[in-house]
Amino acid sequence: MKYIVEIESYLRNEMSRAERQTFEKLVEKNEELAQELAEYEDLFSQFQHARNAAYVKKQISIIQDQEDRNTLNISHNMRKSLKKYWRTAGIAASVAFLASVATYFIAENTFNKENDTRILQLVNKEVRDIKNKQTRLQNDINKVKINTLPNQPHQGSGTAFAVDNKGYALTNLHVLKGGKKVFIFTADGKAHKCKVVKKDEQNDLAVLKVLDSSFAFSTKSIPYQLDSKAHLAERIFTLGFPKNEVVYNEGYVSAMNGKGGDSTKFQLELPSSPGVSGAPVLDASGNLIGIVNSKQFISKGITYAIKTTVINNLLDSLKAPFEIKSLESNSFPSQNRTKQIESLEDFILMVKVYN
């Protein structure tokens, strides 16, 4: 359409009165142009709505960031110890600063003027180092604040596993019900506050992201892949958190569909308990073939798992905006089970939700 420049300046109110009138006459005569104009008008009004939505989203994220930093339930003791931490940090910093200044003066007296610039550079470097240390210290304190557990019992728990090393984990959506604040616990026992970045109500899945942006599950890459499928009678194992420690379980694939022929799931012969919801199902060579979904109990020993195709669909929708990478490396097959478990541990997480 050749009139796009005119349409735009008309809609953006950039035309003079004379220009407007000429253009409006043109539109009256030209039906196609009138249609075109109406469509652009519609599109332009959506830009305004998008602008409003972006503004509201930004304001909300500002408020949420403040909440994460300030008002997260920090128990009284925690506050006290933080204060102490600050005092120590302050003293350490001033001592370091005095030392560097002293270095400067001593050096000033000892060396002649020609060395001045070099000495100044040295002092500058030391001051810079101190500043960096201070920033790091402050970041640490903020992290402690964010990741402090609420001072109350949890409302629900389950298992999650890493889908991207930068803090993305997958779990069952129903695990999160009943609470607002979601924490995952890594193998070292540390708690990390998460936000829910994606929910799939239909398939009972949720993707979590650790709030601390510098967090990574491990320096090693995730050992399992997500492109394998379950096979009937295949031996499988899971790692989950029915209690406060990881529990290993073995079983086999007993049917290729879930309850009532549900093709998004498959059936396992595997003892399951509530906390195992969200646990990864792995085949003998350590490939991920599903995620335990123990929402429905039928009889003891029967567990359902969600297929990887469903998981991949969900993760695909996150790939562009959140930079979730496809899982690649796989050093599993040659190792024995205990070794496999060892390399898995960093990536299997306990989830707890609090109000």
């Binding site: 796009i4 420049v5 735009e8 830009f47 998008a50 909300i60 408020i63 009943g178 109000n355």
Partner: protein, 193 residues
């Protein structure tokens, strides 16, 4: 505080909100969050679902506030609760998580004063349109998506855009932008049909 004083107070806040005053936004958020989410949780919403609906309702309020003729005839919190409840109810009905009796009961307890201020159907239509725009923008791909976003949504100047996207001059950027706009329009209206 008398009723009229309240009225002016609330409408002053609405004006500040419309003028993008950050304080006003924060005040509305903090004042209304507990009431809105509690009222949704009483209607079977999980905490994070309640929060999501609350955020969507804030956008409705913000857009209303931007309309020059809009005058609030109830408290801001009452308005937000009414919008949020209606939105949630629609969602519940769609997912069939509510019996007919339950939704009848919920409708009986609507605040008429607040409900008169908005039309849930047009709100939902608007939300759908925006979703179509977002989808069309994503389909545009780089660099069109960023270009359109920078000019029409972030309202950057053509000169700043030319610099940011490393075009040789503003005219070049403009030509490119027009091409992108044409493509976007095609995607936007095809998606609708």
């Amino acid at each position: 505080m008398s009723k009229t004083e309240n009225f002016w107070e609330e409408n002053r806040l609405i004006r500040s909100l419309a003028n993008d005053k950050q304080d006003a936004f924060q005040q509305v958020y903090k004042d209304c969050f507990p009431m809105v989410t509690r009222s949704l949780q009483n209607m079977k919403a999980e905490p994070f679902e309640a929060e999501e609906i609350f955020h969507a309702s804030l956008l409705v309020l913000y857009e209303k506030a931007k309309q020059p003729t809009f005058v609030l005839s109830c408290k801001i919190s009452t308005f937000l609760v009414a919008v949020a409840r209606k939105k949630w109810l629609k969602q519940l009905e769609q997912n069939k998580r509510l019996t007919i009796k339950e939704s009848e009961y919920a409708r009986m307890h609507e605040n008429d004063n607040a409900s008169a201020l908005f039309d849930i159907k047009s709100i939902r239509e608007q939300e759908e349109k925006l979703a179509i725009l977002n989808k069309a923008m994503a389909e545009l791909g780089s660099p069109c998506e960023e270009l359109i976003h920078a000019f029409y949504i972030d309202r950057m100047s053509m000169k700043a855009i030319a610099e940011k996207f490393e075009y040789t001059n503003a005219d070049n950027a403009k030509t490119q932008k027009h091409k992108c706009l044409k493509r976007l329009k095609r995607l936007f209206f095809n998606d609708k049909k």
